[in-house]
Symmetry: C2
Subunit: 114 residues, 2 copies
DNA sequence: AAAGTCGCTACAATAAATGTAGCAACTCAT
DNA sequence: ATGAGTTGCTACATTTATTGTAGCGACTTT
């Protein structure tokens, strides 16, 4: 019996196939998930500061995403606010190179203003 | 004047900040976008085979995602079906390591069946 | 005690994803 | 050339997600 794609806020247990990469993509493919991890990479942040750093994210969605990321062991709610766990920092190492890649990409495809 | 977050199917021009990484995250943070790129990494595929490889994606969403990815220069609709562009393959190089990472992660956090 | 902050919830409105049906164009064997 | 099968994709109703705004209770600062 394959696992189901969970609804927002519910624990992420797996995509239908249950393949880890698809579970991960299911988690990261939700609005603001990648942006939250990116923002937390520079250090712990409060709920409010995350909210303002993530452009227009609503408190409802921010809370939902943080809950999911906590349940997946990527984020933790510590004394100094929300922060990446060891695993979260580890994940960020793989995400970081996308920062420079995105710049050359946006240059090539003219998708951004800057 | 900052760019707006585009609606599904509309050209991805930028997040509100216009930062390339946020534009990229806006694109990749849509359902099935990452999965589609992952699936296409092994070679060109037809619409129908992509559909069955991407678990439960509906033709509506698949078409929308492919359109967005084409407009962003990551996917192209060639003779042998949909395939990654040079840029798309380049992006995949950064995504690929997440495959092995996701396995150790799922082991550690008990999120998947396998 | 008044005035801020903070994390977060409620809730209505809008947007996105799903699931199903099916159509027009094409292939291919008869 | 006709009918059966496949393909890419659209239509559309239903379900789910996200947004945007307001505001509450706990806390801190003055």
């Amino acid at each position: 019996m394959p696992a189901q794609i969970p609804k927002a806020g519910e624990p992420v247990r797996g995509s239908k196939s249950g393949k880890p990469i698809m579970v991960l993509f299911d988690l990261l493919g939700r609005r603001w998930a990648l942006g939250i991890i990116w923002n937390l990479s520079s250090g712990p942040q409060t709920f409010r500061s995350l909210q303002s750093n993530c452009e227009s994210v609503s408190p409802t969605v921010l809370n939902t995403r943080l809950k999911e990321l906590r349940e997946c062991g990527i984020v933790i709610n510590g004394d100094s606010g929300y922060e990446l766990t060891t695993e979260g920092k580890d994940l960020f190492v793989y995400l970081e190179p996308l920062g420079t890649w995105s710049q050359t990409w946006s240059h090539a495809s003219n998708l951004t203003e800057q």
